[in-house]
């Protein structure tokens, strides 16, 4: 017996209509029995339409001011510390959620000239994920492991990451780090990358071969807490809703001169830097 294309399509059509073909069958088979249960957000969760940061560089003076925030973030999130590795390897394999760099490398396309405040050129700037409104990393991720949440946070799902590193190539801000080594491993001197004595037992580590980055502390926002860096920064890092004209971050952006990193790329970064702010600044 053989059927032609026309007969086959008729058969498929009729069987779908009477419900013995198509998705009806598969949906019936996939019943996992969890219909009665429900999920909901934690009532303490801080909400916004688009979370953003304001970094006031004038409030960050000593190296300690920076290190305090970096340590707060990295210890809470069990970020592996590769400082025990030889310098050359460490540079390439370093895992960082928040770090610092100089003016030139932070704002490579910002206008500058030889008479500019020399302090500015020597100053360090905080760098972390910009949680862009149009994130390039999200567009290129083949597994949707990185995605944009409704509140504007660019989130990373470590369960789905296949370690292809497209996102690292796409991100213009270098905010993403690849786990070249098992974060549970040790360096040549036997020093663990994540110290089991100091690790945060409430937060996972990552595994070798996944990409990680700042998640704007989604786990803390769910408990009604500010991101760890903002909390440790003594007001130098402010966190708030960019879509709310009455939020503190919007008030600062409206009244002070702020710049963003590489705005010409069109990713709409959500970190605003208040520049200057010495005695003479307004």
């Amino acid at each position: 017996m053989s059927i032609n294309r026309r007969q086959f399509l008729k058969m498929v059509g009729v069987s779908t209509v009477v419900g013995i073909g198509g998705t009806a069958v598969f949906n019936g088979l996939r019943n996992s029995g969890l219909e009665a249960a429900q999920t909901s957000p934690d009532p303490r969760t801080l909400t916004a339409k688009r979370w953003g940061f304001v970094v006031d560089t004038s409030k960050l003076q000593s190296d300690e001011d920076y290190q305090k925030c970096i340590d707060a973030c990295h210890s809470i999130h069990n970020v592996p510390d590769l400082s025990g590795l030889p310098e050359e390897i460490r540079k390439r394999q370093e895992v960082k959620w928040i770090w610092t760099d100089n003016y030139e490398r932070t704002f490579p396309t910002a206008p500058e000239d030889e008479y500019q405040n020399p302090e500015l050129k020597e100053k360090k700037f905080f760098l972390f994920c910009n949680h862009c409104a149009q994130p390039a990393c999200v567009r290129v991720c083949p597994t949707k492991a990185t995605f944009k949440r409704k509140d504007g946070i660019v989130m990373q799902d470590m369960h789905r990451c296949i370690g292809c590193r497209f996102c690292m190539a796409a991100c213009p801000f270098g905010a993403r780090s690849f786990n070249w080594r098992d974060p549970r491993g040790k360096d040549d001197n036997g020093k663990p990358f994540v110290n089991p004595e100091k690790e945060n037992k409430e937060y996972p580590t990552r595994m070798i071969g996944v990409v990680e980055k700042c998640t704007a502390c989604t786990e803390r926002l769910a408990k009604g807490m500010q991101p760890a860096c903002a909390e440790a920064s003594n007001g130098a890092i402010l966190f708030g809703d960019l879509e709310d004209p009455n939020s503190e971050v919007r008030k600062i952006i409206a009244t002070k001169y702020t710049i963003r990193r590489k705005p010409e790329l069109g990713t709409q970064p959500s970190i605003y830097y208040v520049i200057g702010g010495g005695e003479h600044a307004g």
Partner: protein
């Protein structure tokens, strides 16, 4: 039939080889897994209840954990309201393992028996267990 002796002898050897694992293990069923719920937190509970009934958890905990993961990571919903109407924080590391702090006697007991190797623990931190035995690394 030519060479019948060799063929039959060969067949016998073949059948013996193939059935060897079955023959050698006959009547030696390994002990059924007995996951233990003997942990300080569970012992203190007046009514020993998991987030869902025992039978459901036994059969469906993997789907439940998958749904929890998707809900928390992808939707940001962290509260689970169970069929009895009670709320729980959806967290393997902080909710499940808070009670079931005996991973070796609880998780591994069945997982080893069934020869499944879930890779939860390559990222999630397992509870420190009381006996000084080092848990075996079962990373990928």
């Amino acid at each position: 039939m030519y060479d019948s002796g060799k063929i039959i002898a060969g067949l016998i050897v073949f059948v013996l080889l193939v059935t060897f694992p079955f023959i050698s293990n006959m009547g030696k069923a390994s002990a059924k897994p007995k996951p233990s719920i003997d942990t300080p937190v569970i012992n203190e509970m007046a009514v020993k209840k998991c987030v869902e009934p025992k039978e459901f958890m036994r059969a469906e905990h993997m789907q439940l954990l998958n749904n929890w993961r998707d809900s928390v990571v992808r939707n940001g919903d962290r509260i689970y309201v169970n069929t009895a109407g009670q709320s729980y924080n959806m967290s393997l590391q902080n909710t499940c393992m808070n009670c079931h702090s005996n991973k070796k006697k609880f998780c591994d007991e069945c997982h080893n028996y069934m020869a499944v190797n879930p890779y939860c623990w390559s990222c999630h931190i397992q509870p420190k267990e009381q006996p000084n035995e080092q848990p075996k690394e079962n990373m990928l």
